[in-house]
Symmetry: C2
Subunit: 366 residues, 2 copies
């Protein structure tokens, strides 16, 4: 499965795997794709360096990438405390009440929230990049718009390709104008932040909007058939995130969450602002229902909502409070029905792709 | 573009075109697809007979089908007047106020509303079928669930295949259990009534759910690339509706509406209950905004909403009141940018399909 882009990156299959887990990213790269490590949780640069060291030892020389969350707009002179102060008391009380209703225990004294808003701040992402450019990463992806111009230049100086996620053809063109190298067209059905346009429509629109820049299709892809479909739509590769959450190498720290993912159908996700303040697809839970309920206080804009719920989300995850327990995931969750190794998943993707190509050739009379 | 299903129906390309316009349906069949005439607006059986006579004279012997809107559940002993009486006065006033705000003129004395709720009633659909089975239709599609068992039997007695639209794998299985022959898997991005699951995810789920019954992919398809994608996902054909609205053979009776469709982007539709009470994708307008506004009275359930707004919709369309003027249409509207003949559209579809197959074969190294 070779496109111009996969050849440029020296990978065997044009399959890009986004994951917060180094073991998953390394396994994707070893299997012939490009493992892309999500950096948002590395608020301490040393932690990122440690995991990139580990990646280096486990990719067998295969290329890999890094995904950061760098806001398109710089927020000058605003501290986390300033942002904290903007959260209305009624919203704080709603978090307390919702947690209390479900008997969610407190974190232990001094125990940090696992998911920190600071990971979204530009300075944190810049610290991550200072670490990352010491490693031979091949791709730098940004989940929140185009990275700043100096970051794009710095990446190019290190021969690192820059990718940015887009939910519309207009966003894709904006990224192209900013000088990035790859657009990741993220359809409505995708996990995490996503727009209203479904992959079937978005992929070719993004391709037309930025040609000859390459487009990766993201959203709704978890089988070889879906990869064939995305490539037929003009993509130069596919960007898969959700599918790896139930691999044996993934470390969700929650057997209950893994069970929920394995049991969920494609209709069990919701595009909700509950997690960050921007619409993000995730498992539908009583937590998302509470935030999406017109009778409730509603969500706050980014970054307030993320800061407001960070500790609550950590508590729900740590204590595996089933009715509230969720995670960003796409509609493809309906196909994630057993825990398997990354290698097994990857082999099924490439075999399924070949079968889909056979099928369309038969239909086309070839 | 031949699948088992297209061979069974004796059509050259596995492209099914749904349209309310006989001239469009006939042109699709002549071009080698299967034109499927939407019957919902034919409340008088004679009108349907007249247009089917016309079809017979203009399809050059090619097969064609009919699409009815037959409720899955029979409503016994309830008249249109009974339903009218269930509409709250506040909602009637909201319609009046919204029309008045935009200066929408009244219909002339005795002028009928062009879009009648009665078209949704089972008896009307049965009258349509009494007419239709006198013609050599090859396909009977139902847009509202499986048709009643006796209708399926009657179709089969006439060698007519029965299709039903489904928005989830569960719906698809239900249709299969009812004895239908073809599932039309209608993705989130489709025009008209549609669910939450996007075509990229829904198509293979529906295929797996009802195999070996054939599935047609609907939603987001308006190019040969998208046809190739849908077939790679396991569909035995594609079901296109929106794309024909801007063909020269279509008769929207509104140059302003045609202009709006040609100008709209993929982000200019909304899935709203404004038209019928069930979520249906349509152009986003000040009319849909008014109904979707949390500050407004909100929509009524089907069939009340349809009955409530029928006359208003006719007035908006007749007088082409631009800010309110809309129509059901899918996200593919972003690709509908010029008026062309059905034949030109069809040729572009088949050429684009061949190019997409070339492309995926190159990527697969074949």
């Amino acid at each position: 499965m070779q496109t111009e882009l996969s050849k440029k990156l020296g990978i065997e299959h044009a399959i890009f795997g986004f994951t917060p887990f180094p073991a998953v990213a390394a396994a994707i790269s070893r299997a012939g794709g490009l493992g892309v490590l999500g950096a948002v949780r590395y608020t301490a640069p040393d932690d990122l360096a440690r995991d990139l060291d580990w990646m280096e030892q486990h990719v067998d020389g295969a290329p890999y990438g890094l995904d950061v969350v760098m806001p398109a707009k710089k927020v000058e002179g605003v501290s986390e405390a300033d942002v904290e102060a903007m959260i209305p008391e009624g919203h704080r009380q709603f978090v307390k009440d919702t947690l209390a209703k479900h008997g969610v225990p407190e974190l232990a004294e001094g125990e940090a929230s696992g998911w920190r808003i600071t990971g979204w701040m530009e300075q944190v992402a810049r610290n991550q990049l200072d670490v990352a450019f010491d490693y031979p990463i091949k791709l730098l992806a940004n989940a929140l718009g185009s990275p700043p111009a100096d970051v794009i230049r710095r990446a190019h100086d290190h021969d690192v390709l820059v990718a940015a996620l887009a939910g519309s053809a207009r966003h894709a063109r904006k990224h192209a104008d900013a000088g990035i190298d790859i657009v990741v067209a993220q359809g409505y059905e995708a996990g995490g932040h996503t727009g209203e346009i479904a992959s079937m429509v978005l992929t070719p629109e993004a391709v037309d909007a930025v040609a000859p820049l390459p487009v990766l299709a993201a959203g709704g892809i978890g089988s070889g058939q879906q990869i064939a479909a995305a490539l037929a739509l003009g993509a130069q590769g596919v960007w898969l995130g959700s599918l790896w959450l139930t691999t044996t190498e993934a470390d969700l720290h929650s057997p209950a969450l893994t069970r929920k993912l394995l049991a969920a159908g494609s209709g069990d996700t919701v595009r909700s602002r509950a997690l960050t303040g921007k619409p993000a697809r995730q498992l539908r839970t009583e937590w998302t229902d509470a935030w999406d309920d017109p009778a409730g206080p509603g969500t706050l804009p980014m970054p307030l909502q993320g800061l407001l719920v960070a500790e609550a989300v950590s508590r729900i995850q740590k204590y595996e409070v089933d009715p509230l327990l969720g995670t960003p995931v796409g509609q493809i969750v309906g196909r994630m029905n057993e825990e398997r190794s990354v290698r097994d998943v990857f082999d099924e993707l490439t075999r399924g792709f070949e079968k889909a190509i056979d099928r369309v050739n038969r239909i086309a009379g070839r």
